[in-house]
Amino acid sequence: MKLQIERLKFAYDGGGLVLRDIHLEALPGEVTVIIGPNASGKSTLLKCVAGLLRPDGDIRLDGKKIGEFKKDKITQWVSYLPQENSFRAVLTVFEAVLLGRIQSLSWRVGKEDLAPALKVIEELGIEKLASRFLDELSGGQKQMVSIAQALVRQPRLLLLDEPLNNLDLRHELEILDLLREITVQRRITTVIALHDLNLVARYADKVVILKDGDVCASGEPEAVLTSQTIGAVYGVICKVTTDDGVLQITPLSSIRSKFGNCSEGNNRKMDATIGN
């Protein structure tokens, strides 16, 4: 399912524009990663696509405006993992994952819902947790449950807002490996908001960089993740190298810590350093 975003603008009630004029395209079978500093509009953009916010501009799925589809179709096709997830419900892991298929659940739960729930639990390697209650899980395990909820619907467009929160290194890699595999095998369109640039370099087919609600760069990781771009967007001096064909980004220092606070002289030095 091809996702196209054109002229997208959004402002929260009484506030300035959070998304200014977003143009973006994400293709089936590819992992598109959105990066950018805090408050750059990543989460807002994903919420707009997920239908939780009503922006101006066009969001198209396979060329058709999202508003022209029936709401239940969108719910069936689009799966969204919020950045913050509530785990206060007294439910077992299996029940919580089943809820991801709420559209097809009836009072008596059928095989057609039970089997996919167990399958995704096994794919994520959390089958031993299936009958445990959510409040008995660690932060990382809870995050795995959230990811399972997002995947169990077998969506065609997967939107994940910082899915690696609370995960250890092994699980970060396993989740991203799994997401890549599912994206390619099922030809789904996966859009992820992430912070770790090395993981972005390793797993993204396409990177979109947001800053202050604008897309300031997009393309393949090698083209986008340059020391100049990273410096301009994040205010960080970094070294970008290639190791075994994969980009390695090593942050060296914050520009502010190197040059001090903004003064005209310091700003000129900063600009020279990041190549503006």
Binding site: F87, V90, F94, K111, L114, A115, D135
Partner: protein, 347 residues
Amino acid sequence: MVTQAEELYQRITGRKYVVVVSLAIAVVLTLFIDIAVGPAWLSISEILSAIWAPNSVDPATSVIVWNLRLPIALMAVVVGASLSIAGAEMQTILDNPLASPYTLGISAAAGFGAALALVLGVGIIPYGEHFIVPINAFFFAMLTCLLIYAIARKAKLSSETMVLAGIAILFLFQSAIALLQYVASEQQLQAVVFWLFGNLFRTTWLKLAISAAILIVTVPVLAKDAWKLTALRLGDEKAKSLGINVERLRLKTFIWVSILTGAAVCFVGTIGFIGLAGPHIARMLVGEDQRFFLPVSALAGAILLSAASAVSKLVIPGTILPIGIVTSFIGVPFFISLILKRRSGYW
């Protein structure tokens, strides 16, 4: 994979079915105990005979069972179930463990309506003399629900605003009741205090039928939304992303539980503890899958009030204590013991 998934699901839900059946049996037992207990003790066989073959028992027993004990005992079950369901769904839609008809001021509003009729003789509907108190109580309970909703709507129906609005209204009506009590005569004051204690002894078959009918209509409506209400506990954002119209679900549920609460408290007065404790007991027993949480809340509330009704006749021989007092006395120690044993993450 399918068999494994079914086995896992049966393992998770099997225990919950056992809880539902056990509590249903317990409701029947407490119901019979409540009918049996009183100044004249009745045996189970006498009760059964009086119910199934009234002519086979002496007329006095038949009158005691049919005119006094049975409607009151059934009212305890119906009101207990209604208040507990109302509390369960309020806690669910407001995402707050303290939400209940009592803590949101709905019971206090009903009490004010009743006090208005008892002290000033003011009726919302000018006719229906026998029902002036319950009609007033029901009217003010519903009015309060609308007020809480109107305030919360200003804040986009956020659960925090609804709870805060409810607590503010609780204080408002408590003050209004105190004012009416201040100006009331001694006899009126006694009537108001007696109403506010909560009492099942005003029960008639008609009142029971009205409360039961509203319960019977409300349960399937709430049950139909069982999965949506379960998903609401995952947070508004997640629920919305699952295709749930959160605002509409919250409003619809709030209206139904308001009617349920109004119908329960208008006939029996203020009974505070059931709507808080029933859902918590249910949550500890079966979790928050609403397909089990809803019936178990109802059963837990029914057992608590039915048991309280029986105990209210036993504490002081020859005297029947107001049930609102007894409910807290037997419920609070039990509830605290459950809280101490609970798992940390319930709320």
